[in-house]
């Protein structure tokens, strides 16, 4: 087991509902008697991280990964599709530049391990690509864009279990938006974003979306974030 270092706690405690900074103009009235806001009432998506913020966050996470693991030996970065894969590649490039050893990056599709498969129509699979050295006895860093309920990470841990036995598994995310439903936390966080359940967090990356940004928008109740 890795020695439990003094882990940096999230800057803000995970919010419950309608955090002050995140609330829409009508925040607080969403409860009881509040009228359900229609799309027209809602403000457009608001940009909370720009390209430069994302780049800085990834640079810092890269350094933290190296510091925590005392180097880049035996590191394997596995991104969770779609945007986690692009983030894992960027982190691997960053760490390679810091440590001048090549850090392998791959992709881990967790669709077949999800706990909500039977709530929706069957979904098509994404590509899984485990780097040539495998994951046995490696330090695997799972990379995803947004940490929310924690269910995707749980599925990823199950998927890893079928692929081999890493020495340790760590989790890096660009955004932690709170509202965990499982006892899961991230080891490396780009930005803690207090959000309400009625908001959705969108990470846009050049590789996938043509631009780098993190945006918060309102969704109707029940929409998946």
């Amino acid at each position: 087991m890795p020695a439990s270092s003094q882990e940096r706690l999230p800057a803000a405690t995970p919010p419950t509902t309608g955090a002050p900074t995140a609330g829409p103009p009508t925040a607080g009235s969403l409860s009881a008697a509040g009228t359900v806001p229609t799309a027209a009432d809602l403000p457009a998506a608001r940009e909370v991280l720009e390209a430069a913020d994302i780049a800085r966050a990834l640079t810092r996470i890269g350094h933290e990964i190296v510091e925590r693991n005392k180097g880049a030996d035996d590191l394997v970065l596995l991104g969770i599709p779609t945007r986690g894969v692009a983030l894992a590649r960027r982190l691997a490039d960053g760490i390679t530049a810091i440590e001048s050893t090549q850090v392998p990056a791959g992709a881990l599709d967790v669709t077949m391990y999800r706990d909500d498969l039977r709530l929706r129509p069957a979904r098509s699979l994404r590509h899984t690509e485990v780097p040539a050295g495998g994951i046995d006895d490696k330090i695997v860093v799972l990379v995803d864009d947004v940490l929310f309920s924690g269910r995707t990470v749980r599925a990823a841990l199950d998927a890893l279990n079928d692929l081999g036995r890493p020495r340790a598994v760590q989790l890096a995310v660009l955004v932690d938006r709170g509202h965990r439903e499982l006892p899961i936390r991230a080891d490396f966080v780009g930005r803690n974003l207090p959000t309400s359940m009625s908001e959705s967090v969108r990470v846009l990356l050049t590789e996938v979306d043509g631009t780098d940004a993190v945006r918060i928008a309102h969704t109707r109740r029940g929409d998946p974030a």
């Binding site: 599709d109 077949m112 391990y113 498969l117 039977r118 709530l119 929706r120 129509p121 069957a122 979904r123 098509s124 699979l125 994404r126 590509h127 899984t128 199950d158 079928d162 692929l163 081999g164």
Partner: protein, 313 residues
């Protein structure tokens, strides 16, 4: 996708491509230490085989087990069917046991359709071969195999299917699926072994194998199905073999990149020479391997979610 897979025509082009892409991902499972996924845990798949089969039944069983489904194998021999039980009563029994999917092979064309649409069972029905009608998962695994060997796409590829088209459910399903995927299919057979109405099929046909081979990207040899032949469709086995068998000389007429396929079981020396079947451009053994991946994909897409996968057009 539709809830049942009864015919290759049930699949739109996008459905078929999703199945092939899913199978491509699932094929990677073969390289892993644990060749199993938890996805269909708690679901029950019944293999209902009224007709002999080795590779299809084993392939469906392996596919369902790799997805962690519970598998019940039912063969007509040694069951109540040999005591005269009807398809309906068998179906009601399966429904009472809670089958989520029924994989059926039957000697009567249309039996899977009857099973799917008579209201006897609620689960999905997968046709694993019915009479001389269809065998859609075979067509899918053939398309999967071709796509892998022919540069990743079947669009515009020329596929020649040779032999007993009349009795072949494999040929019919392949013609329908390959046409959906944009291939140019040519059937080659003696006139007596082409079905009535072949003019309406989305393919061309001819009687001269030597003329068709040089422009084929893949050639699929069909088994002569003696068990379904009650009349004389050709003068002698030797004459058939001379005119329509794929021997070493004809193999030489194929382009360099062309592959040789056969759905099995083969009659070596009849429709295909042993040296051709064993050549390095024969993908016959690989077809069997691919069958498991493709059937896993179909089972996952039909049973993995609340309802079959939604495929955007």
């Amino acid at each position: 996708m539709k809830r049942h897979l009864l015919s290759a025509a049930d699949l739109s082009r996008d459905d078929a491509l999703v199945v092939l892409d899913t199978a491509e991902e699932l094929a990677l499972l073969a390289n892993r230490p644990i060749k199993k996924l938890p996805t269909l845990r708690g679901r029950t798949v019944v293999n209902l085989f009224f007709e002999d089969s080795t590779r299809t039944r084993i392939s469906f069983e392996a596919a369902a087990k790799r997805l962690s489904a519970d598998v019940i194998n039912f063969s007509a021999k040694g069951s109540s069917v040999s005591k005269g039980e009807s398809l309906k009563d068998t179906a009601l029994t399966l429904e009472a046991m809670g089958a989520d999917a029924v994989v059926i092979r039957h000697s009567s064309s249309g039996a899977p359709h009857r099973l799917a649409y008579s209201g006897w069972i609620r689960g999905s029905v997968l046709n694993a071969g019915d009479g001389t009608h269809e065998h859609p998962t075979q067509a899918l695994l053939d398309a999967f195999t071709m796509r892998r060997h022919l540069g990743g796409s079947i669009d515009g590829r020329r596929i020649t299917i040779v032999g007993d088209v009349l009795h072949s459910r494999v040929a019919r399903s392949n013609v329908l699926l390959l046409a959906t995927l944009g291939a140019e299919v040519t059937l080659v057979a003696p006139p007596t072994l082409l079905p009535v109405g072949v003019d309406g099929w989305p393919c061309s046909y001819g009687y001269d194998l030597d003329a068709a081979l040089p422009k084929s990207d893949a050639v699929m040899m069909l088994r002569i199905q003696r068990e379904r032949m009650q009349a004389a469709y050709f003068p002698s086995a030797r004459e058939y073999s001379r005119r329509y068998g794929l021997d070493a000389r004809r193999f030489g007429l194929l382009p360099e990149h062309a592959i040789v396929m056969h759905p099995g079981p083969m009659n070596r020396g009849m429709e295909i020479a042993a040296e051709v079947a064993d050549s390095d451009r024969s993908v016959i053994v690989e077809q069997v391997t691919n069958g498991v991946s493709v059937r896993m994909a179909v089972l996952y897409l039909l049973l993995g979610g609340r309802e079959p996968a939604e495929v955007s057009a």
